[in-house]
């Protein structure tokens, strides 16, 4: 297991950090979060075109760069630091992950090059109104329609669902849980942007009425690939979250250092120093879990499902806790719209709930470990 980044990875990170700091300052985040899509095709094409970020983890055979989760985790951590407003997670993590895990070779060859180049923005629609992250809560029905399929039902909490060109949909087919692809502009698909708590990350509700869809992979075979995609998403989101948490922590520290009260910098007060030490500890621990989980995905670790949940649980607690402290450290100014802290606070809250909160993932981790213990005892 790798526990350190290679010199190449360190260099990639520092270049990316400089580049994103320049392209995605808070002012740009504020501009894009006021738009309906939450991102702009031209701005995103310029950023992505220069660094090929959407291609990072897609294999070279399908138009990508063929790097691993370790590299994609770096991309996400850096995006998380600047709250980049772009359809990256939806497209390059969720949709690409679903296609890679569930698709046939022909489907990968047809669908992935567009996502890798950034020309096609895709997403994954899996959850429904109840907000249950478990696959067995899926009600959206798929029925065969000659050579093709027809989808009826709804999806919700779909990341960039109202702006994506291509949507991968989790549905219940006669043969069981299956994945499908649907064009964003398909007939019978009604897309409504939801009012999201985090304005930098837009969500949509999708209504399917006899929407034409193509089966991705085999009918009834989606449970395994979907579980795997959700584990990947948990790990990569955890990496994005620790990036945001670290940035919040640094900003709060910089503020405390320059804020004068009672004739001295408030950073000199022990109550402040101890809080900052605890924040650093919590963020660094969550970072270790996120890095370890990304390496576990690359190494094909047997415990990877439990590790993914562990990393997401750690990041969920750390990011939100850091955000709460960051507001407190800023005092009154931290509660104002003009101060940038609330932008990260909202991302922290939204990420905490996304794909299951800390309680959800602790339980999932425990079930996994108890399962392993039972299997271990039997063998």
């Amino acid at each position: 297991m790798k526990f350190s980044f290679s010199p190449e990875q360190d260099e990639f990170r520092s270049n990316l950090r400089r580049f994103l700091a320049e392209r995605s300052p808070a002012k740009e985040v504020r501009r894009l979060m006021e738009t309906d899509a939450g991102w702009e095709r031209d701005a995103w094409r310029r950023i992505n075109g220069e660094l090929g970020l959407t291609a990072v983890r897609i294999p070279e055979a399908y138009g990508g760069h063929g790097f691993g989760f370790g590299e994609q985790a770096i991309v996400l951590e850096e995006m998380g630091r600047v709250l980049l407003c772009a359809p990256y997670f939806s497209s390059a993590v969720l949709a690409a992950g679903a296609i890679l895990n569930a698709g046939t070779d022909a489907q990968k060859a047809a669908l992935l090059p567009g996502i890798a180049s950034g020309a096609v923005v895709a997403t994954l629609a899996s959850v429904e109104d109840g907000g249950d992250w478990e696959a067995d809560a899926t009600r959206l029905a798929a029925t065969r329609d000659g050579e093709s399929w027809r989808l009826d039902g709804h999806k919700s909490f779909v990341l960039d669902g109202h702006s994506a060109d291509l949507i991968v949909v989790l549905a219940m087919a006669p043969g069981g849980l299956s994945l499908f692809t649907v064009a964003g502009a398909a007939d019978g698909l009604e897309r409504r942007r939801l009012n999201s708590l985090d304005p930098t990350r837009k969500l949509a509700r999708l209504e399917f009425r006899a929407v034409q869809a193509a089966l991705l992979g085999a009918e009834g075979a989606a449970a395994g690939p979907f579980a795997r995609v959700m584990a990947e998403a948990a790990v990569l989101l955890a990496n994005e979250m620790v990036g945001g948490a670290d940035r919040l922590r640094e900003d709060a520290l910089a503020y405390a250092m320059m804020r004068m009260q009672f004739g001295r910098s408030i950073a000199g007060f022990q109550s402040m120093k101890h809080k900052h030490a605890d924040m650093l500890l919590e963020v660094e621990l969550a970072k270790s879990a996120a890095y370890f989980a990304a390496a576990a995905l690359d190494d094909g670790d047997g415990d990877v499902m439990a590790t993914a949940s562990l990393a997401k649980a750690a990041a969920s607690e750390a990011y939100t806790q850091t955000a709460v402290h960051a507001i407190q450290i800023h005092g009154g100014i931290g509660f104002t719209w003009d101060n940038d802290t609330h932008l990260w606070f909202k991302r922290a809250k939204a990420s905490e709930a996304m794909f299951g909160d800390a309680h959800f993932h602790r339980e999932r981790m425990m079930q996994q470990m108890m399962g392993d213990a039972v299997m271990g005892a039997g063998s």
Binding site: F3, G268, H276, E284, K287, E363
Partner: protein, 415 residues
């Protein structure tokens, strides 16, 4: 030297020299002469000037050959590091080899009843009378003082100097009439530490480390190594498995050296016992219990990976990141949470100790030992100050005690 060359050379040397039929001291004397016992030490002093990153390679070859290394457990490693950094050639020649062979045992005389976190507030006095230092005062929390041959002593030599400049650092002979050692009983029933009373104890002039008034600098060297090696000191030293005289003698040595640390795994919270206890008691079926266990395991695993991250970065020669300073505070948090979770799992069983208690009394021992974790070796509060000031560069507290002569500084009346 590259890794392959080191591997080949150390393996070759062990093949030619390692013999479990040798006496432990005889073997280690040979080992020290070869430089493979402490390869990262200077070649002049029993080492080979090898980079830290290659030490694990050497250790791997020792493990493969089943060969015993130099004596490492206990305070002796801190003594060695401090003497290497500040000692004269005469001191190095006198002490280092006997540290490596395990012939000498050491203890650390820093803390006093009146100065715990504030080690620099020591009031044990050393006065130069005639041609020697005469020491009077009381030290506390001294592990293995009753067995030690030598002590690392911090004492005040100048009361008119400011707090940190009035201190000197000595090596003191523990086997002399002026040194009295008494065990100190703890709340968990063990007596792993001692109080040491120094009454006109004698230190010859050549046994000062560095110079008069430079004791604080030397102390910081010891403390830095203590913090860095904290895992090594706390973890259970295990012997090398095998049959032969050297193995037998090493096992006996470890049993003696590690005896005071018998409860340390419990002090760290025994996270390893949590799942077995929860399964055995059926508490695992309770979703509330599972949440709490989950919370603990997330923290414990993240802490473990953070330590590994710091270690890997060090081996690769990268500058130390913040992750390297967090281990002590992280282990306090883990231990405290583990004690809570053990209580939750035990239910009414938490009322009982010893053979009547859960896990043959181990759970009770955890509950009564964990409070030491956040105090010993630097309290959590001091750790947070260190992280805030040294890692995050936050301003120091305004100090009341460091600018005036130490004799004018308010201090505890019971000293």
């Amino acid at each position: 030297m590259n890794e392959a060359a080191v591997r080949a050379e150390v393996a070759g040397w062990l093949k030619a020299n390692w013999d479990p039929a040798l006496g432990l001291v005889e073997w280690r004397t040979k080992l020290a002469a070869s430089g493979w016992g402490v390869p990262h030490w200077p070649a002049q002093w029993h080492g080979r000037d090898l980079s830290d990153g290659l030490v694990p390679v050497v250790e791997e070859e020792f493990a493969k050959a089943g060969a015993i290394g130099v004596a490492k457990a206990g305070i002796r490693t801190l003594a060695a590091a401090t003497i290497l950094a500040h000692g004269t050639d005469m001191q190095k020649a006198k002490y280092l080899l006997r540290i490596l062979t395990g012939e000498d045992t050491w203890c650390q005389l820093f803390s006093e009843p009146g100065s715990g976190s504030d080690v620099a507030g020591a009031v044990t006095r050393a006065e130069f009378r005639g041609n020697q230092w005469v020491v009077n005062g009381q030290k506390v929390w001294t592990t293995s003082a009753h067995k030690a041959h030598w002590g690392l002593l911090l004492a005040r030599t100048d009361w008119d100097a400011t707090k940190h400049r009035g201190l000197s650092y000595f090596i003191i002979d523990m086997k002399q009439p002026g040194v009295t050692v008494q065990p100190l009983r703890q709340m968990n029933g063990y007596a792993s530490f001692n109080q040491v009373f120094l009454t006109d104890a004698i230190v010859p002039p050549e046994e000062i480390l560095s110079s008069v008034g430079d004791g604080w600098t030397v102390t910081n060297t010891t403390l830095m190594h203590e913090r860095r090696g904290a895992d090594g000191l706390r973890s259970w030293a295990s012997g090398t498995d095998g049959a032969g005289r050297a193995y037998d003698e090493e096992r006996a040595e470890i049993a003696t050296t590690m005896e005071p640390y018998r409860w340390y795994p419990q002090r760290a919270g025994r996270v390893d016992l949590v799942m077995p206890q929860a399964v055995a008691s059926g508490a695992i079926d309770d979703p509330v219990v599972r949440q709490e266990i989950g919370r603990l395991l997330v923290m414990a695993k993240s802490a473990e990976w953070t330590a590994r991250r710091a270690r890997t970065a060090k081996e690769q020669g990268k500058p130390q990141g913040p992750e390297g300073s967090l281990g002590k505070l992280a282990s306090s948090n883990v231990a405290r949470m583990a004690a809570r979770v053990h209580t939750l799992i035990a239910g009414a069983g938490a009322l009982l100790a010893g053979p009547d208690g859960p896990a043959d009394g181990m759970v009770a021992e955890v509950l009564l030992s964990v409070p030491a974790t956040s105090i010993a070796g630097g309290t959590d509060e001091i750790q947070r100050n260190i992280i805030a000031e040294r890692v995050l560069k936050m301003p120091r507290e305004p100090s009341e005690d460091t600018k005036k002569p130490f004799r004018d500084v308010p201090r505890n009346t019971v000293s």
